[in-house]
Amino acid sequence: MEPETIERLPEILRSYLSEHLPDARNVSIHNVSRSPGGNSRSMWFFDADWEGEAPIAKQLMFRANESTCFRDEEASLEKEYRVFRALQDTPVPVPTNYWYERDPAWAGEDFVIRERVEGDTNFRDLPPASQQAILDHFVEILAAQHNLDWEAMGLSFLGAPQDGPECARMVVERWERATKRELLEPQPVMTATMAWLKRNLPTEVDRIVLGQGQVGPGQVLFRDDRVVASLDWESAFIGDPMSDLAYLDFMVRPLVGDEVVEGLIARYGELSGIPIRRDNMRFYTVFQSYWAVSACLAAVNRFATGEMRKTQTLVLGMAAPRSFLRRMERIVREDAA
């Protein structure tokens, strides 16, 4: 967002809520602060107050469309908003999303006004018992999520694969296109990894589900050892549930160890009724590395071309994908051995 818009943000929010809450009078905005969390889109926390009635929370957040790493083709703010709305009143706890605004007259770009749920995100520093409790609860939620009727929820717009083989093929083709669009210089490691992915596409999928894309600690808020909100739905997709399970595995295994992770995977299988397919999980572990680097390439592109020349874009684009690049390099080398 432009600096002038940021400076005017309290007044923009006051006017917006005044217009959209007809029974609220004397709307006031307090404690506007930029959220330090999240890497993709700019967010501000704020508190609102008013006289009279209004069917929304008073602790809110403003989420701007401006993204360091995603393009609308793959992960738009509108898509995320629609997924959040569809998840309202399901077993997946999400903050209420009140409005998605397209009119650039307000803030120069699209934005969402969302409920701000109180909770923590720092999973890494918790005691092991708390980590285990949160992960146990998260796996219950993930199993329930994978049993949602996404067609009835109106989520087919995410792109529904016709059958098992199409699940992996669709995401691989989508992100190969994105990579080619964003690359400013050839990256043979990306090309070699794409060749690996195409050679190892899973064909057996037991259930086509609503997947989250980015899963687990870092994407949820927790309080008193329970998950209170699942936050990140911009990478949601319809496809193979093993994708989410693979993401959870590689995010938490280094933190909680093999025994805990294997217990979580077994519990997920029991709760969801979906068989665990290790080959599919391995494929998606590699795919998610490719995906993460591809998203970061958009940040490099935005910085280098002047579309978004900010240090947060530079750091996300260059530093964040290093571990994923190393993982991809190792996998294509091991595959040749």
Partner: protein
């Protein structure tokens, strides 16, 4: 000229660490200051090491292209797969500027990338040896980039 660009960057890093960051209260501002420290350290590494690493990288790519030319000469599936790719690396300048090295790198990497994309799934003999050569290059290239990016800005 003294001070060198790297020395000037160190001065900026000092002021950020000692004078600005301790005065910041907003978590967002602290995060951005941390990003700026990273960017300054990255800039310093590039000022000091990028030229030498680019010379090494381009030499490495030329080695892959020489190996590809030899492997293609042995015929078979590999020769067919690489038939339409121009493997000529072009001239290298004796005293290249940074821009020369960047342009040369883009040209060489484009050819190696085309080889990787066209590489046959079934690899035997010459193809297997060339694939290992390419993977070796990819590993070294990952290390070279890492030297400039995987840094601790303090």
């Amino acid at each position: 000229m003294r001070p060198t660009p790297a020395e000037i960057v160190e001065g900026l890093q000092y002021n950020l660490r000692a004078d600005l960051i301790p005065e910041l209260e907003s978590p967002w501002a602290k995060r951005i200051a941390g990003n700026m420290l990273w960017a300054l350290e990255h800039l310093k590494q590039r000022l000091e090491e990028e030229h030498a690493l680019a010379v090494e990288e381009n030499g490495d790519l030329r080695g892959v292209l020489a190996a590809a030319t030899a492997a293609r000469g042995e015929g078979g599936t590999l020769a067919h797969a690489l038939a339409s790719i121009d493997l000529m690396p072009g001239e290298a300048r004796e005293w290249p500027s940074a821009d020369d090295l960047t342009a040369e790198n883009a040209r060489l990497r484009t050819i190696v990338d085309a080889i990787v994309e066209a590489f046959p799934a079934e690899r035997d003999g010459a193809a297997e040896a060339l694939w290992r050569e390419i993977l070796g290059y990819i590993a070294r290239q990952t290390e070279r980039d890492g030297a400039l990016i995987e840094i601790n800005p303090g």
